[in-house]
Symmetry: C3
Subunit: 206 residues, 3 copies
Amino acid sequence: MSLLIALDLFGVVVFAVSGALAAGRKQMDLFGVMVLAFVTAIGGGTVRDLVLGATPVLWIDKPVYIWLALAAGFATVALARRVRVPRQVLPLADALGLATFCVIGTERALLLGFGPGVAIVMGVMTSVVGGMIRDILCGEVPLILRKEIYATAALLGAAVTAGFYLLDLAVIGTWAGFAAALSLRLAAIYGNLSLPLFTLGDKRHD
Amino acid sequence: MSLLIALDLFGVVVFAVSGALAAGRKQMDLFGVMVLAFVTAIGGGTVRDLVLGATPVLWIDKPVYIWLALAAGFATVALARRVRVPRQVLPLADALGLATFCVIGTERALLLGFGPGVAIVMGVMTSVVGGMIRDILCGEVPLILRKEIYATAALLGAAVTAGFYLLDLAVIGTWAGFAAALSLRLAAIYGNLSLPLFTLGDKRHD
Amino acid sequence: MSLLIALDLFGVVVFAVSGALAAGRKQMDLFGVMVLAFVTAIGGGTVRDLVLGATPVLWIDKPVYIWLALAAGFATVALARRVRVPRQVLPLADALGLATFCVIGTERALLLGFGPGVAIVMGVMTSVVGGMIRDILCGEVPLILRKEIYATAALLGAAVTAGFYLLDLAVIGTWAGFAAALSLRLAAIYGNLSLPLFTLGDKRHD
């Protein structure tokens, strides 16, 4: 169980970093940056806990999540003032968060007794929601709607995690799912990998 | 009660179709389309269940909603590859979903013992939220903010449903409310019907 | 306790006014305006109640919130038709709502037994969420991302409220927190006050 907790804290940190970086592109004041870091970091887990009925939600139950998210946001600000941050760091941080949360979301649902189908949906949902909120608040089209594989990576990670869990190999599944989701996202970010796109026949507008 | 369940499943399907069509306009990969179809389909019911405290929410309690939404999204993709989809299909699917959910949201609240006022608010809210989420994720201005009658149609359907319910004619109310909301939306889509608009005196900007 | 309730109702009214004004800029029909007024007014409190597990949420438990928000929205429409509304009224109404809700959110959390850290986070969150939803629905970049101090004002108000509460001076804290948050926001709106901004080293894009 402590592996899941460690991963959860890691996911909160990297999503907070992605939120702080996104805020930096919009030139927000310091506390605005930290609000965005916080919302991105806890967004997915909050939605997960809400729909499962697990209230009060995780960061109210264990405030360490709050402090960790804010600290990560602050550290990002402090570091970015001294060091030039390459553009790739934001999607990389987001990819780490996505891979982490799709595994955690899936396993938490399985541990609560839900079937693999619902668990996979929980995994995908909790991994994409944080980034969605971050992008929407920043006035950007959410990463999930770009051409690169995004939801697909979360789906792969969740499915791999659920599969190994059902074979009673949960710990292997945790790492395998994380690796699968992260690999697919990195291949999409750096390798221009993409799936066939769905486009309507009617293309007269946008 | 089975009439409500049938309508609920129908609403999920048509909102999923609208979500898939909207995603198609943004050229998403297959799984991105299915995420959008799913979120649009269950968005309204999820918010309704959350604010009423009915957790776990409907699609976790009855996973058939998940599979139905995903199947509808997938079928839309498969069909749209072969057949040119007219532009009107998206607002039509959304209108069917709106009419369905405003009736269901109102009746569910009434059946839980809430007064007609709260029930009408629940009906309007659960019918417009799914479309809102879909439009925001796609970077579009939500349909509810366009000139055509939208929230008004949901309000009419909810009010009609509540009225008949209080007269002990719930089944008639279900159909009457659905017909009223749908008619008003179709009149707005195809007939250029509109209400007086509210505009501020100060028009210097946008 | 009645001071908190009075403030809560006041906050609902001013946020509803801000929502109606924002809708007016987008030329919505009457019921669309009232939906936006309602969502802006109850958005923050709803999220607060959801994450704390206090369901059914406040406006379902006490429908007076619904009627107040809708009445305020309607009154704004009626007044704006006769009187030219200066552009400053919207950020002013939003500032009043922000100052009110950051105090209430903080105190409600403290009264429920949560620590000052969590309470301050609740205060900030419930005061910024309503405006966020309003701005996103209107297709605007949320006020929280503009250069003027926004989240910082909410943070100050929440911190002052929590501080006085811990010194057993809750009533003084309520007014002091409200005054602090409002003053800071007004200084930002009218006085061009601002904090140092966080900008990434990489500025090649936007």
